[in-house]
């Protein structure tokens, strides 16, 4: 499921910061291929007192890996929103071993990192791919 078809050029090396944290320039992250490893469903019961009914909200996780080594791991949670398109929407922050850097070598802010990774995962059309995977996995 790699999205990269062109040879990667002008890619600064991924360096190890500490404790397994991998550093890469923010612009270079878009040159990497990412493949889907696994996704699954959590289930939570929420009660809606006003309607006196229990609704089950479908939430889950998804795991992706870079196709280059050392391997970057990227994970996030999602929620099923039946009336949205796409139906699976990301919730919360990313879980990763990644640290994005600006060209001057300084780490990106948390906010900027989040925005960059949001753009990355949207480019790889994660929602549709995970939707298909989940549908197959759980029948």
């Amino acid at each position: 499921m790699s999205i990269t078809s062109k040879p990667i050029t002008n890619l600064a090396p991924v360096s190890v910061f500490r404790e397994g944290i991998l550093q890469i320039l923010d612009t270079d992250i878009f040159k990497l291929g990412f493949i889907h490893l696994d996704s699954g469903v959590y289930q939570e019961q929420i009660s809606s007192k006003s309607f006196k009914t229990n609704k089950t909200q479908i939430t889950g996780y998804t795991e992706w890996l870079s196709t280059m080594t050392p391997t970057i791991t990227l994970s996030w949670d999602w929620m099923l929103c039946p009336y949205s398109r796409p139906q699976l929407q990301k919730t919360g922050a990313f879980y990763s071993n990644l640290r994005l850097l600006e060209k001057n070598g300084k780490p990106l802010s948390e906010k900027h990192t989040e925005r960059t990774l949001d753009e990355l995962i949207n480019r790889i059309e994660w929602s549709q791919k995970v939707d298909q995977f989940i549908t197959q996995k759980y029948g």
């Binding site: 404790e19 397994g20 696994d38 699954g40 795991e63 879980y95």
Partner: protein
């Protein structure tokens, strides 16, 4: 919920028996982990005289949560069994880095929570904080944990800074990951 901590030398015999029986019920029976262990008792090679435990009990003195703590200067789970989770990095070996494992806050008496697998949110956070506090009291400045991703999410929810050591492996259908925890 009350928390107790100690090694096999300091914990009451009854508490130890209850702990290993609880671990069997949670990890083997309820979660279906394929562990090489005798029936009714969940113990492995990392349960020994120097292992530190944190046990959570309810008012009826039932075990409703537990955690296992090991200094990385001794053989530990990540190093010996799951080194691939370190993405090629050497396993840490330091007096001030401790491993958290066998973490759960499943109340076996609570039918509602039983549907939620390994954790109930509030008690999980309390147990996590208690476990980390115990590790700190024994000199830990950082921790590492081999855990299902639920623990990773829990750590973040509890306000801890954490990051992955490397990609997960899928074990028995669930992702398992090594997570660094800043204390």
């Amino acid at each position: 919920m009350e928390f107790y901590s100690g090694t096999t030398a300091t914990l009451a015999q009854q508490s130890q028996q209850a702990l290993f029986s609880y671990r069997f019920k949670v990890f083997v029976e309820h979660l279906g982990w394929q562990l090489d262990t005798e029936t009714g008792v969940e113990k492995d090679q990392f349960d020994h005289d120097d292992t530190l435990y944190v046990i959570a009990k309810n008012e009826a003195e039932d075990v409703v949560g537990c955690a296992r703590l090991l200094p990385t200067t001794l053989p530990y789970l990540l190093e010996e069994v799951f080194p691939e989770l370190l993405n090629g990095q050497a396993p840490p070996k330091s007096d001030d880095i401790w491993e958290l494992s066998r973490f759960t806050s499943l109340d076996l008496n609570d039918c509602d929570v039983m549907a939620r697998k390994q954790f109930s949110a509030e008690s999980s956070v309390a147990l996590l904080k208690a476990s980390i506090e115990v590790a700190k009291q024994h000199g830990a400045k950082k921790m590492i944990s081999v855990s299902p991703i639920g623990v990773e999410r829990l750590l973040r929810r509890a306000g801890f800074q954490c990051h992955r050591a490397g990609p997960p492996v899928i074990l028995d259908g669930y992702p398992l990951v090594a997570v660094w925890i800043e204390l």
